[in-house]
Amino acid sequence: MKHPEIPSFAYRLFKWFCKDPLFEELEGDLEETFLRNKERFGLKKARRIYTREILKMIRPSVLSKPTSGPGYQAALLGSYVTISIRNLKRQKLFSFINIFSLSVAMSAGLLVIGMITDLLKFDEFHGHKHEIYRVISSPVYQSRTLDVQASSPRYLGKEMMQHISGIHVTNLGRRMQGTATANEKNLFLKGIYADEHFFDFLSFELTKGNKKTALKEPFSVLLSQSFVDKTFKEEDPLGETIDIEGLGTFIVTGIVADPPQFSHLQFEAVVSISTTPLLANQGVLAKSHDQWENLDRYYNYIYIPNNEQKANVESWLETTAPTFFQDQKNFTASFELQPINKIVPGPDISDSIGPKMIYLPIIILSVIAGAILLSAIFNYTNLSMARSLRRAREVGVRKLNGATRSSIFGQFTVEAIILSLFSLGLSIVFFRMLRNGFIALLPRAEEMVRLELSAELIGLFVVFAILAGLIAGLSPSLFFARLSSLNALRSGKMLKTLSGINFRKGLIVTQFALSIIFVMAVVITNKQYSYSLNKDMGFDKSNILNVSMQGNDPEILRAEFLKLPAVSKVSFSSYITGVGTWNNLQLVDSRNQDTVWVHDLFVDHSYLDNMNIELLAGRNFETGENKIRESAILVNETFVQNFGLGSPSEAIGTIFKVEDESVEIVGVIRDIIYANLEEHINSFVLRNGKRYHYANLKISSTDVIGTLDKVEGVWDSVDKKHRFEAHFLDQQIEDYFKFLVDFMKIFGFVGFLAISISSLGLFGMALYATQTRMKEIGIRKTFGASERMLIFLLSKGFFKMVAIAVLIGSPICYFLFDKLILAQQVYRTEITIMEVGGSILFLMSLCFLTIITQTWNAARTNPADVLRDE
C-alpha cells in the first residue's frame, strides 16, 4: 500500500507505466528514500524529490510493454488464424452450412458490386468529363408535360453558340442504319450522325483522316476499325465509297477507333450530319426533321471549359430557348443540362442515343442483395449463439488462463472473417457460374456490363468479404468477450443468460416472411405467364412464320413461297401483332372535322383469313382495291363504340379522312389484342395496299426445321442481298413474355436463397432450443410424456413463428401483385386461394421437416442419459 504522504498522482502514474514485476522493487526503494528524505529535508522537499524520481523513471527498461504494436499484433493474429481454422475443421457440418449459405448470399452481392462498378465506368474516358453536358428536353404539349427526352432541337446548339461565347457544341443524330455495301460485301451497319465538332472535345479517336474536315461535307462517312476489318481488311478505305441502303452513296473520309465498351455512344460508322437536309429533300427523312417542334433524333453535346459559362448556358436554356417554338401555347419544352457521366446509369429518359440503364433496377437489386446478405449474416450470428453451449467452455478456460476481453473478441472476429473469406472463394465460383444468367436477366445489360474479374474487382470483393465477416462476427464476439468465466464454465446455467431471444425470433419471422413473399411471387408470376401464353388474343398464333420482307415485292414473295407445298397461305402485314408494337394514325372524322388518334395496321386481303380473325359485318378488302388510291378500311368493335357508330353493320359506309384521302369503312372485325396484354384495346384500323414489312406464312407441315430450310432457300433465290430473317409467331409472343420468365428466375433465385438461409436459421434455433431443454425433456419423459407429445411441445413455438411470418408475408405479397404488379396488365390472371394456400403449404412443410429432425431426436433420447448427472 502507498504511504499516505507520498504524492498520489506520481504514485498512480508510476503504477500505470511501470512494468508489473519491477514495481515492487522500485516503488519500495523510492518509498524508503522518500521516508529518509522526509527526515532529512522535510516533507515538502521529499515529495518534490519523489515526483522528480518518478519522472526520471520514464525510460524503456521500466515502461511496461504495451499490448499492441505491429509485431505483437501479427503474432496474435497468427494464433487467431490457427485456432480459427482448427475450429472450422472440427465442426465440419456447422462450417459447411455457414460457408455455403454465406457464399450463396455473397455471390448475389458480388454480382451487384460487379454490375455497379462496370456501370460507374461509363463515359469516364472523356478527357473533359466534368465539363461536358447533354441538353435534355421536357416537351410540354397543351400544358401537359410529356416524358423527358435525351434529344433536343437540331439547331439548339447552334443558336446557343451565337449567344454565349467560349462554349463548344457538337450536334449528333441517331438512327443511321441500313445494309451497307462496302468493297463488294453486304453488312448491316449501325451508326450515328455527327457534325465536324465531334472530335473537338469528345474523346473518340480518329486513326485516319482529318479531324476538322472529315465530317464537314454531306455524304461523308467515318468507318469504325472493326467495320473496316470486316470489309476493306488490309486495303485503305480512304476515298472509297460505300452504299447504305435507303440513304445513298457515301465517301469514306476516315477511320475511327471502336468506341470504348463503357461509352453510351456506340457506333460502327459516323455520317456527317450535313447529309440530313439532303436526305429530307429526297424524302428519306420527314421535312420537319430540323424544326424546333421536332424533338427526336438530334442531340446537342456542350463542352463548357472549366464550367465557367455554365450559369449562362442554363439561364439561356431556361429563358431564351423556349422562345424558338412557333406556337408556344400549344407546344413548348424546357431544357436541362445532363452531365455526360450521369447518362449511364441515369434517370429514365426516352429517345436515348445508346444503351441506357436506369437507377431503379440497380437500387432494387442492391436492396435484394443486401437483404439476402444480411439474412445470411444474421444466420451466422444465430448459429454461433446456438453453439455457444460448446464454445462457452473454451472461452471460460481461456479467460481463466488470462485471456482478456479484447483477445476473445479478436478471436471470434477473426473466425468470422476467415469463414467469410472462405465463402468468398466459393462465391467467386458461383459468381462465374451465374454471371451470364445475371446479365441476361437485365434488359440490354449484355451491351453494357461485362462483369470481368479484374484485380480491382477482386480487391473490392475481399474488402466486401472482410466487412461482411466483421458484421457477422460482431454480435457473437461481443457476447463471448463479455461472458464471465464463471458463467461460462457452469454450462447449464449460463445459457439462460443468453440475451436477445426475442430479437432472434424476430429475425426468423422476418426471414420467413420474405421467403413466403418470394415463393408466392414465383407461383403468381408463373400463373400470369401461362395465362399470357394461353390468352385468346383474337387471332390464330400457331403455325404462322413471319418473314421480314426487307423491301422485296410482296407479290413476288407470295408467288415464290406458295410454290412450297408446306406453305398453305401467305399474307402481309406492317408489323407483328401481340408483341407490344402499335402504330399511331391521325384520323379526321368527316362528320365534325375532329382530329382523332387511333392505331392502325397495314394488311393485305388474305390477312384475315390467314390469321383467323372474325369479320363481324361488311366485307374484307378486295384484291388490288387500295393499290392506286386508298379508299377502304376495316375497323374493330372498339372503334365502332368509341365513335358512336351504333352496331357493326350500321357502321359500314361511314367516311373518314386518312392522310388527305377519304376512306370508307367496309367491314368491322372482332377486337383483337394487337398490342399487348398491358394495353387496353384502342380504336383500331386495318389499312390495305402498301407498307408491308412482314410476310405471314401459314405452315401446314409438321417438319419445322425442314420447312424453315426450304423457305430460306426460296428467300435466297429471290433476294441475294439480305439475310433471311424469320420467326414463328407463337415463339415471338413467347419471347415477348420472356420478361415474366426472367421475373420468375429472379424471384426463384432470391427465393431459393431466402428459403435456404431462413431454414438454416430455423435449424440453428431448433438445435439450440432442444439442447437447452434436454433435462426438461428427460423429466417429462420419466413422468410419462409420450414422444408425440414431446415433439408437439418442442415444435409448437417454431410453428407459431412461421405462422406469424406467413400472416405478415402473404398479405404483403398479395397486395404487391394484386394492386401494383399485375395491376399494370389489362389482361391478367386472378390470384386465388390455390396460389396463396399452395405457397403456404410448401413453406410450412419445409419448416416441419427442418424442425422435426431436431425435435424427433430430442424426444427419442433416453431420459437416463440426460438425467444421470443430477
Binding site: D29, L30, E31, R59, V62
Partner: protein
C-alpha cells in the same frame, strides 16, 4: 550481442555491490555511489544500469523477505556473479598494465 564491455558507470555500480556485500539493494547502492562519487544519481538511472548488467550476466538478484519499513514491499538484493568478477578483474588489469607502460616523468 550488445557486447560484454563494461561502461564506467556500470563498473562503479558493480564495485558498489561488492563493497556492500550482502546488503546491496537499490537504496544502498544509490547511497554508496552518491557518497563515493559525490554525484547524485536517480533511481531510474541506476535501474537501467542494473538491468543491463543482469542481461550481460555480470550480476544476479534475489528478493528478500518483506519488511514493514517500506509498506511491506520486498527488497531486491544484487550480487556480482563470477563472470562479473572476471570482467572486473580484466578491466582492472588492463588499466594497471596501461598505467605501467606510461614513461615515468622525470
Amino acid at each position: 550481442m550488445k557486447g560484454t564491455n563494461l561502461g564506467e558507470f556500470q563498473e562503479i555500480v558493480m564495485l558498489s555491490i561488492l563493497i556492500l556485500e550482502k546488503n546491496a539493494y537499490g537504496v544502498t547502492i544509490q547511497d554508496e555511489i552518491d557518497r563515493r562519487m559525490k554525484r547524485s544519481i536517480s533511481r531510474g538511472a541506476l535501474h537501467t544500469a542494473l538491468t543491463r548488467l543482469e542481461e550481460k550476466g555480470f550480476i544476479s538478484s534475489d528478493y528478500g523477505e518483506p519488511t514493514s519499513e517500506r509498506g511491506g514491499r520486498r527488497k531486491r538484493f544484487y550480487e556480482v556473479t563470477n563472470k562479473g568478477l572476471e570482467t572486473l578483474q580484466e578491466a582492472k588489469e588492463l588499466r594497471e598494465g596501461m598505467w605501467g607502460l606510461i614513461p615515468k616523468l622525470t
